[in-house]
Amino acid sequence: MKRLREYADKHGVSRPVFDIVPVVRRDHEGASSSIEEINLELKQEYKYVPEINEADPLTVLIAKSRNEAFSIGIKKFTVSNESTVSNALRNVNEIFLNFLRRNLPNKQPTHTIIYKWYRRDFLNRLTYPDALSENLDNAVLALYSYVYRNVDDSGKILDSKKEHSKNIIALLEALMEKIKNESKKR
């Protein structure tokens, strides 16, 4: 997933400057209080906020998938780009599954072959060590962007885009077949 890694590499991290926030505990009667614990809260002005371009769903995807962690050993925040890409792929999978669950015409959409494949096999194929071709990766991301623009938060196709539903299902099926064939060759 070279493209996702390129997006992830563009981001920075927060600066490690924290406010000391005391946790005040009161006794049972409320007559006295004491501080037995101290928490550190990142100062808002030092928090890194990723730039999002609403026109490019991949920037939203990467921003949502980043998890920065503070390491006291090196006194810095770090973000693992590999973790960001893994999280992003999980989010891609999630959006495909939500779409299929809400838009397949079948009575039991979760029992269909296509749904089961996306639930069980999709992520394995994409995160395999000898990853699929770059073209296929780009096809996955392009389809993700297309689905993202045409569904609501629950995965249901927007009312104004109902005619696209069959197209998206057909594309998901085609992608599934392509990935299966590509994997068989390796």
């Binding site: 600066r15 490690p16 400057v17 924290f18 406010d19 000391i20 005391p22 004491s34 501080i35 037995e36 614990e37 101290i38 928490n39 550190l40 100062k43 503070f70 006291i72 050993g73 006194k75 810095k76």
Partner: protein, 240 residues
């Protein structure tokens, strides 16, 4: 007789002899801990160590300073009571900046709010650790191998265990012994005024029942004899 002399009690001043305060190593440890420590950046980082949790609590701070004065308190309850004597003080709006390795904008301190342990707290600690040791001897022993005869000897000396003496069940004897010791220390029937000595009662009992150690039995009996005078007991010359 000199073998039953309480040297520690005799060395106390007349006020202490009159008021009979409970003595404990916790008071000595508390005395060694500083009254106030300003926590600078390096101290903060040292206390937190490699932990993923970069916040601070009294337990970690006190643990750090105990290590500094080379003191180890293995008992969790005693450590907790020691921690209750401390709290944090925050002045201003301090900020921890890991980029420049400083705390600025205010101060963070650890302060001692009690210079001596509360008498009520020490009273509750009397014999507690020893009773836990008595409980532990059955964890590693199969019930059938438990020495009933030695347990009965201890219960006879303790007194007040008639109903559990009669039973042949090892499990019931264990519960009876624990109950008796809990009652004994709750009312402090033996008037023991030193928490370490009180804990040794359980240690001696456990060692004698488990291994038949005669020195442990002798110490236990000696202490029982000393209770007959009715005086507070601070120390006892132990047999090794």
């Amino acid at each position: 007789m000199s073998v039953f002399v309480d040297k520690k009690f005799e060395s106390l001043d007349w006020i202490s002899q009159a008021t009979e305060p409970i003595d404990s190593e916790l008071n000595i440890v508390l005395g060694k801990m500083p009254e106030q420590v300003d926590i600078d950046f390096n101290t903060y980082v040292s206390i937190v160590g490699d932990s993923w949790d970069i916040g601070l609590d009294i337990r970690r701070a006190v643990s750090f300073f105990l290590k500094k004065i080379d003191v180890k308190i293995s008992d969790y309850v005693k450590r907790k009571e020691l921690e209750n004597c401390f709290e944090f003080q925050v002045d201003g709006n301090p900020v921890v900046d890991f980029e420049v390795s400083q705390i600025y904008g205010g101060t963070l301190s650890l302060i001692k709010v009690q210079s001596t342990m509360d008498e009520k707290v020490l009273k509750n600690l009397l014999g507690r650790q020893g009773i836990e040791e008595v409980d532990m001897i059955w964890q590693n022993m199969i019930w059938q191998n438990m020495n009933i005869a030695r347990t009965n000897e201890i219960m006879e000396i303790l007194g007040g265990c008639e109903s559990h003496l009669a039973t042949r069940s090892a499990r019931k004897k264990k519960y009876g012994l624990r109950l008796r010791l809990q009652k004994l220390f709750a009312a402090n029937e033996w008037n023991i005024k030193d928490t370490e000595l009180a804990d040794k009662v359980g240690t001696w009992i456990a060692r004698y029942i488990k291994t038949g150690d005669l020195s442990a039995y002798t110490n236990f009996c000696k202490l029982k004899v000393m209770t007959h005078k009715g005086n507070p007991i601070y120390s006892m010359e132990e047999v090794e």
